[in-house]
Every structure is written in structure tokens, then in C-alpha cells.
């Protein structure tokens, strides 16, 4: 669109025609106060805070609803405007309780800020304030009516943004009030978007209300540990008796890949970290089969001794290693390196929730065709096959809805169920159960008919006419079905792809080579390339996959099993008796079904308690930062290094630490105090900052960047907290092209999150309350 020139407070500003005046001001670095305006939501013009003076126009105008015009001259701060804002604040405070000293929003409240800036010290109003009791609307949402300033942000974000429409406005004029959809309670997706977007403390969460004050917390931006979307969540942490306790999760800076969004899990399901059942002491199985607590010394020594013993007596093939979908890339990388170089076995696997191996192979040589989560928010057309993002990839669902709403993107759905995103879809191909392979074949064909489904040919023709298409697919697609889908996509003018997996680092686990036949970067073990030199004693024969490991245990051939952050006993229904001759070492947060049958249990830190990096389903790499801390637990990275050390391996060979430059850390005080920071940033961005410990995840990240194709990303960008694209680099096709299908979808929905979800009291409570409600209405 053509550009428009205007003047704001004497500054010349040029913006595209159609821009709202408030955005034009913001672009020029001039902040116009606003309560009801929220970027991306419909315009509302309700609060009158954004009043500005536009020359040649009578009366003050609302900057949030006025589009810019050529030659406009605007003033945003004059005594007249200050007076208008003062009057508005005075009206808003007319019935406001001013209970800031106890209000959750106190300290980060937009009304407080505006009162501070424009408000009068006195009020003309002498009427008695109308008090209303706080109401609980759901396990998550509380409403404190007198605090509400009727900005309608919550109503719009729930309706337009979430497509839930659970909040409304009732009554009229001064009596207006926000109301939930079930009269006295909410029936909704419990995302907490309304709470986060509320400029005041009218909507509060059960998790955080009356817990602490914002300035008493440290705020750490990290990545959600739940689904495969990898949202940035900011955790508020506070000192507790046994470390740092996470008290809040929210979307504070909105700089993440999720932009405005977080679902219930990213916001409230951090509470597993504070669960009373957390393991904080190592456990060793006794002769009478009971567990006794042990010192770290004893537990690590025993684990290392047994692994060494089995390796040296029964051979490396008698050991199995199972990694995690929720540990960092550095931990995953290190675990497989440990298995392959210290234990000497390729018997390593993880619970796969998507077939990345086939995906990478199908896209070999076409790295630029892999899509980011960000593409879902900008692509002009999207084809989604399988999956139900509203339940399984909430941030993706948000991005798709937003893209359809704001950019008129065209969404094409192929699904066996009538998923909620259908409401945004331009076209929906409702296929019979198990019909995905068939559907792909149909899309690529010129058949007139597909299972007699009306409009199927039109759907296909419309799809093929799209000049640019983003293709997303769920775990319904594996092996040759992925090949077929990708080759269909490649036949279109410009298609990009993403393969959806279920956990925070499912993609990272596969990329880092937690696979029996593939090294990091999907390099076949038989053709190890640079790893031949890097990994001494690398066995060339593919190892046992997860199922084969348990089969071997059944046959009495598995001497030891090392499980890091996984619960295969529950997932794969393993009979505990089959492991009676196997020495089992488990690193876990809780006494899961797998930990219960272990011989040594090592209490581990979770993703919120350590640093490192994770890769989401789409291949977007992000850093996680240590937020919480729990006395007694250790990171998986540290535990792997310590076990290796006790087995006699050289930590330097596992983790390339101690190689960085010796840095002058400069002065930390006085006039030069900024120097040290600038110096260390410079070093870190060139990956030459000193890494003095084998437990430093960045040391491992250096090796990943060096050896894993596609992970050589711009470090500075990553360190700045941004999501950075990894590239899928082509791999040589492995010897056998028919691989066993070991994908087992997690089957998680909006309120569940695998084993982790069972230890989140909030998720469990919400899950329970939502399970109950259909029964209540079943009578009709």
C-alpha cells in the first residue's frame, strides 16, 4: 500500500496507508496510552484513553480507531489531552476499589501506571462504591468485578483469538459487567489468555492470585516443556526453603515464537516442579527389593560400576539406553555419545511421536522446504492433514486462526474427525478412518471421485491452484506415506512442510541421534562420516530399538538398561518381571512406573531447572534457561558426565570444555563495569567464551554446531532469546529403506501432558473438571 506522511509531536512519520494512528505513533517511538486497543484484536474505542489532538479536526480523536491520512498533524501530549485523560481515569476510578496493595496486578497494572501519570490526587465522586465479592469461574479463572475497567480485551481475545467465545458483556452503561458463558462459571479452554491480557487485576488465576508481588520475583524467559510447539514462557521465581520456587508462568515479553499466545500448560502447568513427590535423594534397591536413600557418591558409583561390569563381561550389546523427549539437545547429544563411545553400543532409542527419519529423508536436498512455526502465522495457504492442533498443538492452532483472521489465509483441512479448526477452514475434506494414504494419492491424481465425498475434486483443484502452500501433517503419516505426501507437495509450485510431534524436544531427540541406526543429523551408523574420527570405538552395526531392548531383556540378554527422563514401562506396557535380570538405572523427577522397577534412581532436574537448547516440531531452535532450582536434584547432563567419569572415561573427550579463550573478565564495578559484559557477549557470540566445566551445556552446543548438520546457527541470535532455524541437511539414504514403524503418538490433549501432566495438580484438576461436565448434561 502507498505510504502516508504525517507529523506527530513535530516528528515526521511515514507509514503505509491504512495504518492506525496509534500504531503510527508507536512506530515513531511515541507511546499513546490505551486500555481497550490491543494489536490484532478488533477495534473497540471504549476507553477514551488514547485521545489525541489532530489539527483541523473538532474535538479530540481516538488514536486507536483513526487511520492515518496524508498531511495529518497530530499532538499526543498537551495540557488539553492530559486533562481529558485525567477525567477518564477519574471516571474509571469512580467505582474502583483501589486495593492495589493486595491486588495481583499491583506493580504491573496499566491502570496504576495511567493514574500515576495522569490521575488526579482527588476525586469529585463522593458516592459509596459498589462492592462485589470475587467469583471463581473455573479451576483457573477468578473474577474481581469492581476492578474491571470494561476494556473488553478479555471478551475479544477469548472470542476472536481463541475462538472460544466464553466471555460476554451483560447489562448496560455503568451497570455493564463481564459475564462467563455458563452464568456463574466458565466452560472454556482454560488458556488464561484473558487473565494475561487484562490490563488490571480483574481477572486473576488460581495459580498466582495473592501469592506474591511482581517485584519479589525474578523473571526468566524460557521454553515451555510440554508440547512440540516450543512457546516462550516467562517463569516468575521466588526464593524458597529448598531452592527457587516457580510461582508464575506468563507471556511477559511476547517476543517468542508464540507471540501473544500461551495455553494452559505453558502458563500454569509448571507446578509439577513443586510437586511433593519430587525425588530429591538418590535411591538404591536393597536385597529385600525395597528402596533406600543413598548418597550421590554411592548411587553414581554403583551405576557406573554396573554399567562397566556389564560392558566388560557381557559385552556392549547387553546394554540399552533410552533417552527423553523433554531433555535438552545437549543432554540428548551427550547421552548418545556416551552410549556410542563409552558404553560402545548403538542400542539407543527414545519414545518417538513422529517419524522424523522418513521426513528428513523425503526432504533430502530440499532443506529450504522445511517450515517454521512462524510460517503458520504468515503463509497465504495452509494444508493440514491429520492432527488436532487445538488439542495437540495449541500454539499452532492460535497461529492458524490468527493468520486466517488477520491475513485471510486459506486453510485446507484433511481429517478423519470434525476438528475445531474446521471453523476457520476454507475447505474441509472429511475422510474415512485410516484414509490418509488414500487421500494423498487422490490429491496427486486426477480421479473424479474420492470415496463418494462431495466436493473432493473441488478441494483438490483449489489446493493445487495455490501458488504458495504450507503443508502440516500429524503422526498419522509415517514412512512411505510421508514420502508420498512430500512428493505431492513438491509437485506444487511452492510448498513447505512441517511434521508435527508431541513433546517439547521430540524433534531434538531425533535430530541428536537418539536412534539405534542413525547418528546425530540422521547420519547412518554404517557411514559415520566425520563421526568415524570423532567417536572412538563407534560400533558400525545398528543397535537395538526400544522394543528390541525389552525383547532382549525378556530373553535375559540385557544386562543393564539406562533410562534418562522417560517412562517406557508405562508407555509400552512392559512387564516389570521381564526386567528382573537387567540392572536398571533411571534418571527421573518422580517415582514413575519405570523408576519403580529401577535398581538405582537418580533425582533429575527438569527443563525449567537447567540451561541448554531445544528444537520444536518445526526445527526452530531455542535456548532454555534455568528458572527454578530444587535442592538435591541434578541436571541429566551432569549425571551423564559423572557416570562416564566414574566408568573411567575422560570427561574432556565427552564434553569439549576448557578450550575457550582465557577471558579477562574485566571490572565488575566502577566506571568500566560495562566492559566485562560487552567482552563476554563478544566472546559468547563467537563461541569462544571460556567453558570451564564439563557440565556447561554450551560446551556441548559447540560440538553440536560443529558436527550436526543444520545446527550451525547464528549464536548471537540464539543467545538473544530468539528462535533460530535449523536446517535439514540431506543425508545419504540408509542401507535399508524399510524401517520398523515405532511411532507411538502421545495422545495428549489440551489438559494432559504425558507422565509430566500427571504430576501437575492444576492440569489434573482441570482435566477432571472437564471430564465431569459432559456427564452433567448427558440427561438431555
Amino acid at each position: 500500500m502507498a505510504d502516508v506522511n504525517l507529523t506527530v509531536d513535530g516528528k515526521k512519520v511515514t507509514v503505509p496507508a491504512g495504518t492506525l494512528l496509534i500504531e503510527a505513533c508507536r512506530a515513531a517511538g511515541i507511546e499513546v496510552p490505551a486500555f481497550c486497543y490491543y494489536p490484532g484484536l478488533s477495534l473497540c474505542g471504549a476507553c477514551r484513553m488514547c485521545m489525541v489532538r489532530i489539527e483541523k479536526m473538532p474535538k479530540l480523536q481516538t488514536a486507536c480507531t483513526t487511520p492515518v491520512a496524508e498531511g495529518m498533524t497530530v499532538h499526543t501530549e498537551t495540557p488539553e489531552i492530559a486533562q481529558a485523560r485525567k477525567a477518564t481515569v477519574e471516571l474509571l476510578l469512580g467505582n474502583h476499589p483501589l486495593d492495589c496493595p493486595v491486588c495481583d496486578a499491583g506493580g504491573e497494572c496499566e491502570l496504576q501506571d495511567m493514574t500515576f501519570k495522569y490521575g488526579a490526587p482527588t476525586s469529585q465522586y463522593v458516592e459509596i462504591k459498589q462492592h462485589r465479592e470475587e467469583q471463581q469461574w473455573s479451576p483457573v479463572v477468578y473474577f474481581d468485578r469492581p476492578r474491571c475497567i470494561m476494556c473488553y480485551r478479555c471478551v475479544r481475545v477469548c472470542g476472536e483469538g481463541m475462538d472460544v467465545w466464553a466471555l460476554g458483556v451483560q447489562n448496560r452503561g455503568a451497570g455493564s459487567v463481564i459475564a462467563p458463558n455458563r452464568q456463574d462459571h466458565l466452560d472454556c479452554e482454560e488458556c488464561g489468555m484473558c487473565i494475561d491480557i487484562c490490563p488490571v487485576g480483574a481477572l486473576t488465576s488460581d495459580t498466582y492470585r495473592y501469592k506474591t508481588r511482581p517485584w519479589e520475583m525474578n523473571h526468566v524467559a524460557t521454553v515451555c516443556t510440554h508440547c512440540g510447539d516450543g512457546c516462550k514462557t516467562t517463569l516468575g521465581v521466588r526464593r524458597a526453603d529448598d531452592g527457587m520456587e516457580i510461582v508464575r508462568g506468563d507471556n511477559r515479553d511476547k517476543s517468542g515464537i508464540n507471540e501473544d499466545f500461551l495455553c494452559i500448560k505453558g502458563r500454569y502447568a509448571f507446578d509439577f516442579a513443586n510437586h511433593p513427590d519430587r525425588l530429591t535423594k538418590p535411591l538404591i534397591r536393597q536385597a529385600d527389593r525395597s528402596f533406600a536413600t543413598a548418597t550421590w557418591e554411592q548411587a553414581l558409583e554403583l551405576a557406573a560400576k554396573k554399567l562397566k561390569e556389564v560392558r566388560d563381561t557381557k559385552g556392549p550389546d547387553a546394554i540399552g539406553v533410552i533417552g527423553s523427549n523433554r531433555t535438552t539437545n545437549e543432554e540428548n547429544y551427550l547421552l548418545q555419545k556416551f552410549a556410542r563411545t563409552v558404553l560402545g553400543t548403538n542400542n539407543i532409542d527414545h519414545h518417538r511421536t513422529a517419524d522424523y527419519v522418513s521426513f528428513v529423508r523425503a526432504l533430502a536436498g530440499k532443506a529450504d522446504r522445511a517450515a517454521s512455526l512462524r510460517d503458520a502465522g504468515t503463509a497465504p495457504a495452509i494444508l493440514l492433514l491429520g492432527n488436532d492442533p487445538t488439542e495437540q498443538h495449541p500454539a499452532l492452532a492460535w497461529a492458524l486462526r490468527t493468520n486466517v483472521r488477520l491475513n485471510k489465509a486459506k486453510l485446507f483441512l484433511v481429517n478423519t474427525s470434525d476438528i475445531k479448526l474446521r471453523r476457520q477452514a476454507k475447505a474441509f475434506l472429511h475422510i474415512p478412518e485410516g484414509g490418509y494414504a488414500d487421500a494423498v494419492r487422490f490429491l496427486g491424481s486426477n480421479d473424479a471421485d474420492f470415496h463418494g465425498i462431495e466436493g473432493a475434486a473441488d478441494f483438490r483443484d483449489a489446493l493445487r491452484a495455490e501458488p504458495k502452500l504450507l503443508i502440516l501433517f500429524g503422526s498419522e503419516f509415517r514412512g512411505h506415506d510421508i514420502d508420498a505426501l512430500v512428493s505431492f507437495g513438491l509437485s506444487l509450485p511452492d510448498a513447505r512442510f512441517a511434521c508435527l510431534a508431541d513433546y517439547a524436544n521430540s524433534r531434538g531427540a531425533a535430530d541428536m541421534g537418539l536412534l539405534p541406526d542413525l547418528l546425530p543429523g540422521y547420519r547412518p551408523v554404517a557411514a559415520p562420516g566425520p563421526f568415524a574420527e570423532e567417536y572412538p570405538n563407534l560400533p558400525q552395526k545398528p543397535g537395538k530399538d526400544l522394543i528390541e531392548m525389552f525383547d532382549a531383556a525378556e530373553r535375559g540378554e540385557l544386562g543393564a538398561l539406562y533410562v534418562v527422563g522417560a517412562n517406557p514401562v508405562e508407555r509400552y506396557n512392559v512387564d516389570p518381571a521381564s526386567l528382573k535380570n537387567t540392572f536398571v538405572i533411571v534418571q527421573e523427577m518422580f517415582l514413575t512406573e519405570t523408576a519403580q522397577i529401577a535398581d538405582v534412581v537418580l533425582p533429575a532436574a527438569n527443563l525449567y531447572e537447567k540451561g541448554g537448547s531445544v528444537t520444536n516440531s518445526y526445527g526452530d531452535l531455542q535456548l532454555v534457561k534455568k528458572a527454578g532450582d530444587r535442592a538435591g536434584v541434578r541436571s541429566d547432563l551432569e549425571l551423564i558426565v559423572r557416570i562416564a567419569d566414574r566408568m573411567g572415561a575422560k570427561p574432556q573427550q565427552l564434553v569439549p570444555f576448557g578450550r575457550g579463550l582465557r577471558a579477562d573478565t574485566g571490572q565488575s564495578r566502577g566506571a568500566q563495569s560495562g566492559e566485562a559484559d560487552r567482552h563476554s557477549i563478544w566472546l559468547a557470540s563467537r563461541q569462544i567464551e571460556p567453558k570451564v566445566s564439563p557440565f556447561d551445556p554450551y560446551a556441548v552446543l559447540d560440538e553440536i554446531a560443529r558436527l550436526v548438520p543444520g545446527y550451525d546457527v547464528e549464536r548471537m541470535n540464539l543467545l538473544a532469546g530468539n528462535d533460530v532455524r535449523t536446517k535439514l541437511v540431506s543425508i545419504e539414504p540408509a542401507a535399508s529403506t524399510t524401517r520398523r514403524d515405532l511411532v507411538l503418538p502421545a495422545q495428549d490433549a489440551l489438559f494432559t501432558s504425558g507422565t509430566l501432566g500427571r504430576y501437575s495438580a492444576k492440569l489434573a484438576e482441570v482435566h477432571e473438571s472437564h471430564r465431569k461436565s459432559p456427564a452433567e448434561t448427558a440427561a438431555d
Binding site: 467465545w165 466464553a166 460476554g168 458483556v169 451483560q170 447489562n171 459475564a179 462467563p180 458463558n181
Partner: protein
């Protein structure tokens, strides 16, 4: 939407009203434009826009029940609880106030033995204080259901009550 989508099985309305609603939703460019007339007709037939009415109208239009409630709560002419057989609406807005509207309201309260927005135990009368009903020239004015009574005095009001009481007795 196809025409058969308009009708609702097991409607709570009379066949005539249901047929009327089937048509009504097709008359506007947006279905939800039919909401207010539907609410008014339904209120007249059922006596109030109760939960069942709200549910069916939401279904007919394809909006949430919350949307319907939002609209109902905005308009004072829509009520979710049944009124008396005769709903006595006493205006106390400026013209009526100047000519004794408040006294008229007090008189009605005393005569009927009920307060504002209450219903007599026999269900015949309910009382409500309302804003201007557009009969200012003949203030003070009272509206009973859809009928106007103006230029009132307390004596004339008593006669009005008597009249309705007899009507109530007949049916």
C-alpha cells in the same frame, strides 16, 4: 445455510410461532439480526425469555447462549422471569415526575401491596418503574402490557386496576 437448518425439532414454541421464526431468520443478511424480534415474540408467547427460550433461540440463530443473554440483559423490556398477567409500568421520567409520577408509583405499590419489580401473590399484577414511555403530553402515564393509560389520577388508576381485575376473573 439450507432451509431445513432453520427449523428445530422439539421446538418449545407454538407451530405458528415456530413457522414464523423459521422464516424470520432468513429475512436478514445476517441471521443474528433476527434476534431481537424473536426474543420479543417469544417473550409474548412464553411469558418470559427463560432458559429454554434462550437455548432454542441461540440454536436457531447459530450463536451462543451467552450472546443471547448479553442482548437480553441490555434491554429492560426483555425479562427472564415471568411477570404478572398484567404488567403495570409506571413512568417516573421528567414529565411524569413533574405531574405526580412518583406519587402514582407510591399509590400503585400501596394498592397492590408489592414493590418495584414484584408480582402479586395471585399472579395478576406486577409492577415496574420505567423511563419515559412516550406519552409525556398526557403525563402522568402508565402502561399495562401494551395498553396506555394517561392523564391519570389515583382515582382513575384505581378504576384501571378494577377493570383489569375483572378481566382476569373472566378468563
Amino acid at each position: 445455510m439450507s432451509p431445513e437448518m432453520n427449523s428445530v425439532p422439539n421446538t418449545i414454541f407454538s407451530p405458528e410461532l415456530a413457522a414464523r421464526f423459521d422464516k424470520l431468520v432468513t429475512l436478514y443478511p445476517a441471521r443474528r439480526s433476527a434476534l431481537i424480534p424473536m426474543l420479543l415474540y417469544a417473550q409474548d408467547e412464553v411469558g418470559a425469555v427463560n432458559d429454554a427460550v434462550i437455548a432454542e433461540i441461540a440454536q436457531r440463530i447459530g450463536i451462543t447462549e451467552l450472546d443471547v443473554r448479553n442482548v437480553i440483559s441490555y434491554y429492560s423490556l426483555l425479562h427472564t422471569k415471568p411477570h404478572g398477567k398484567f404488567h403495570v409500568q409506571v413512568c417516573t421520567n421528567i414529565s411524569c415526575m413533574l405531574r405526580g409520577g412518583n406519587e402514582m408509583l407510591a399509590h400503585c405499590k400501596e394498592k397492590l401491596g408489592i414493590g418495584n419489580k414484584e408480582t402479586t401473590p395471585d399472579g395478576i399484577f406486577s409492577l415496574e418503574e420505567v423511563e419515559c414511555i412516550g406519552a409525556c403530553c398526557w403525563a402522568p402515564a402508565v402502561q399495562v402490557n401494551y395498553d396506555f393509560h394517561d392523564n391519570l389520577t389515583t382515582e382513575k388508576m384505581d378504576a384501571v386496576f378494577e377493570n383489569y381485575r375483572q378481566k382476569a376473573g373472566k378468563s
